[in-house]
């Protein structure tokens, strides 16, 4: 594990502990640090910015009520994304008014609109990512954009680590093909 990653994990743990102690300023830091990543994650699961706004607010509501009971402060990151994912899945189930497994629920989502006027590499990457099927998109985003480990993603998505590895392999291939098709560097 690199020093940077190790320091990031320590910083996450410190933030969680400050919140658990009840330091009000720590909650402001927690929101400043994690609001954008959570919103972006939820935006990939939702069909509009407005829906992502609603989901992220519900997520924070549950985080504020639950962080005092978080047993292992080192697991702050997967805990946050786990709450966000459960809320998104609950919303989807309610929306479609029928029971479905989490991964099936993801498949119900329409792929977000693709930006055809790519301005830079980042926009191309975002668009390529958006074109992937929901499972591969989510796995890739959690691994590369939100820096969760394979074990953490496996726990979050409730599938074996081997499945995550194969999804990552497949997702990378699909993203490469997508970017080649779009003529991105």
């Amino acid at each position: 594990m690199s020093t940077q990653t190790s320091n990031d994990l320590r910083a996450d743990e410190l933030l969680a502990i400050r919140c658990q102690l009840g330091e009000r300023a720590a909650f402001a830091d927690l929101i400043a640090r994690w609001h954008e990543p959570l919103w972006r994650y939820l935006r990939r699961l939702a069909d509009s910015d407005q829906a992502a706004d609603d989901l992220v607010q519900d997520t924070w509501f549950r985080v504020l009520r639950g962080i005092a009971g978080l047993r292992d402060a080192t697991r702050l990151r997967p805990w946050l994304f786990g709450i966000a994912r459960r809320i998104a899945m609950d919303r989807l189930r309610a929306q479609y008014a029928r029971p479905a497994a989490p991964d099936d629920a993801l498949d119900e989502l329409a792929a977000p609109e693709i930006d055809t006027t790519l301005e830079n590499d980042l926009a191309a990457l975002e668009a390529g990512l958006a074109a992937l099927p929901p499972r591969e998109r989510e796995t890739l985003a959690l691994f590369y954009l939100h820096e969760l480990s394979i074990e953490q993603i496996a726990a979050l998505l409730e599938v074996p680590a081997g499945t995550i590895k194969s999804r990552l392999f497949r997702a990378r291939q699909m993203l490469r093909e997508e970017l080649t098709l779009r003529g991105a560097p």
Partner: protein, 159 residues
């Protein structure tokens, strides 16, 4: 404004309301007062001989109301407004102080009047005090453990 930041202000405002210490300690106060009053009512009810049926019913209703308030306070503190480590130490201190005053009051009433309900309330008050001391000690241990880990992490990060 980028769309991801649009909802941030709402979240910050929500956090301010959710994290209000006043609201949390209000429910701690409700729990303590309702527990003490219920103790007094139940002690009177159980130790008063040959009460008419209407009075028995009135005591029963008052006891149920008291227990209901306590249950509500416990539910809110567990599910809606959980106490953070620092809040628990404050709440534990309040509980010990309140229970000690209650026990002292019951003891004084028992000695001065010699009435059986006062002795019964004193006995229950002692149990409440013991529970409050246990809660305070546990809260202090948890607070100390978190503070120690916090210092350790701050030293490692050079904060």
């Amino acid at each position: 404004m980028k769309p991801e930041f649009r909802s941030m202000n709402k979240v910050r405002a929500m956090a301010g309301a959710e994290l209000s210490l006043k609201a949390r300690l209000g429910y701690v106060g409700l729990l303590l007062v309702s527990a003490a009053l219920t103790t007094v009512v139940v002690s009177l009810w159980l130790t008063e001989p040959s009460l008419p049926a209407r009075t028995q019913l009135a005591f029963a209703v008052m006891s149920v109301i008291g227990v209901s308030w306590s249950v509500l306070a416990v539910w809110v503190l567990r599910a809606r407004r959980p106490l953070f480590a620092r809040d628990r130490v404050i709440a534990g201190g309040l509980a010990v102080t309140f229970s000690a005053l209650f026990v002292a009051g019951c003891l004084a009433a028992a000695i001065l009047s010699g009435a059986a309900p006062a002795y019964a309330a004193f006995g229950t008050g002692v149990v409440m005090l013991a529970v409050a001391i246990g809660v305070l000690l546990k809260a202090r241990r948890r607070f100390a453990a978190l503070t120690s880990r916090r210092r350790e992490l701050e030293a490692q990060l050079g904060a």
